[in-house]
Symmetry: C2
Subunit: 240 residues, 2 copies
DNA sequence: TAGATATAAATTGTATACAATATTGTGCGC
DNA sequence: GCGCACAATATTGTATACAATTTATATCTA
């Protein structure tokens, strides 16, 4: 499992840091949907007892990016088609108006921060690290909620973004990976211009774009269970 | 502490049931904001080990209706003025459009269920149990999200409702407790008529009503800490 | 050999023991 | 009596031990 294990024994490991590391790994697609997250395995990696691992896993399960099955363990969540639609519908409800607020609140420092995000995103893409680019792209959306000074909405968006990452891992269709960058650039401009109405509109269409770039009309997630895997295909995953 | 302790030793107590019992007690204002939730105390009440109590408290802290302070324990949350505004702003973003969807989806059974809710709400009020009426009123809002077939949004609304209950406990101003009933009746009618636009409008104004029925412009929460209580003045809120 | 069944291994669920921290109580000096 | 240092108590944080359950393995039968 590719995780950010602590480099030194002196590292202070809290429940949150474990949850955060796992969350980021999931967000960056280093952990595929369906992956088993064994407690012993994780407690070995992070050099803590199962107690803390369990707390971290429970935390992630509350965000619905990990599914805990009683007596069976924790798995990276596999959002269903229905859930996928719901997540994007929720985002379409929350984010456009939040982008509008952000446009009306944004300071030059905020704009600089957003631009910095884009730069990092480009750098990650240039380095071929699509997972990291996706993660940074999520942070961009989160940053907008922060600029809008709506922590409660930001929390909700944060969860929706993490779930979106899982949905993208399962249902992504398009090959073009750069479509987002343009949309983000345009958004920054609208926000920098304090053009709330336009920012709202751009965010709305951006989300619709993302939503429609998914295979949500026919295919169930692939590689779900052992049966499918053994009869021919690639990945090893579990059923829900 | 007035909690629903199990009546028999044979009761199967799960983490969720403890979290649910605590959540309901908070929702019904049987547990005031700021109340200390000691682990030993709760494990005595529910006859389980601290392990499960801790899991339940962590679950509630993720919903922000319980605040866990490291090395100090768990307390019923005390939403700040800012949080209070944010919660209602989030609800105003989510619920009107959800009510619209509900109006377009509702079946006769759904309408019957909503009416049943109102009836129970009235019964609770008639019995003088304002806490329970408040809880049922929250369920009414949740039920609408369920009718709209938006589980993800329903989950978010569920959390916002619980926090709203805390906010009401801290900032409620009006004496008239029945204002909601009328609004709910009107909403049911719009939904029963499949009048989405009107349902959306009614929900919006209902939430604005609730929001404006709070003392969110001046007073900080009362009865927070001993200093404030004894001095009878503006209390200093705890750090987050 | 396929299938079923019993047994063994591995994994999770829960409780408890101990350590770390915070809170409370006591005594001393002033 | 007041304030402060220090000890005693209580509470939370973490790890570990044991029980319950699932999963894997081996054995037996048709």
């Amino acid at each position: 499992m590719m995780l950010n294990s602590p480099t030194a024994d002196t590292t202070i490991v809290t429940t949150e840091s474990i949850a955060s590391a796992l969350s980021q790994a999931i967000h960056e697609h280093r952990l595929a949907p369906g992956t088993k997250l064994g407690e012993d395995e994780l407690s070995d990696i992070y050099r803590v007892s199962r107690t803390m691992v369990r707390a971290a896993l429970q935390s992630l399960s509350h965000q619905q990016i990990v599914e805990i099955k009683r007596n069976r363990g924790a798995f990276v969540a596999q959002p269903s088609l229905t859930e996928a639609h719901e997540v994007f519908e929720a985002r379409e409800l929350l984010e456009p108006r939040t982008a509008k607020s952000a446009a009306l609140n944004a300071t030059p420092e905020d704009i600089a921060l957003l631009n910095d995000h884009i730069t990092q995103e480009h750098a990650a893409l240039a380095a071929g690290d699509r997972g990291r680019a996706l993660y940074l792209s999520g942070l961009f959306h989160l940053e907008i909620a922060r600029i809008a000074k709506q922590q409660t909405i930001a929390d909700m968006i944060n969860v929706l973004i993490a779930r979106s990452s899982l949905i993208i891992a399962l249902y992504w269709r398009r090959e073009s990976a750069l479509c987002e960058s343009q949309a983000h650039h345009a958004l920054i401009k609208a926000i920098a211009d304090n053009n709330g109405a336009f920012a709202e509109e751009l965010m709305q269409s951006h989300l619709v774009d993302l939503h429609s770039a998914l295979n949500l009309h026919e295919l169930p997630p692939v590689g779900q269970n052992l049966k499918a895997m053994l009869l021919g295909a690639a990945p090893t995953q579990e059923t829900s």
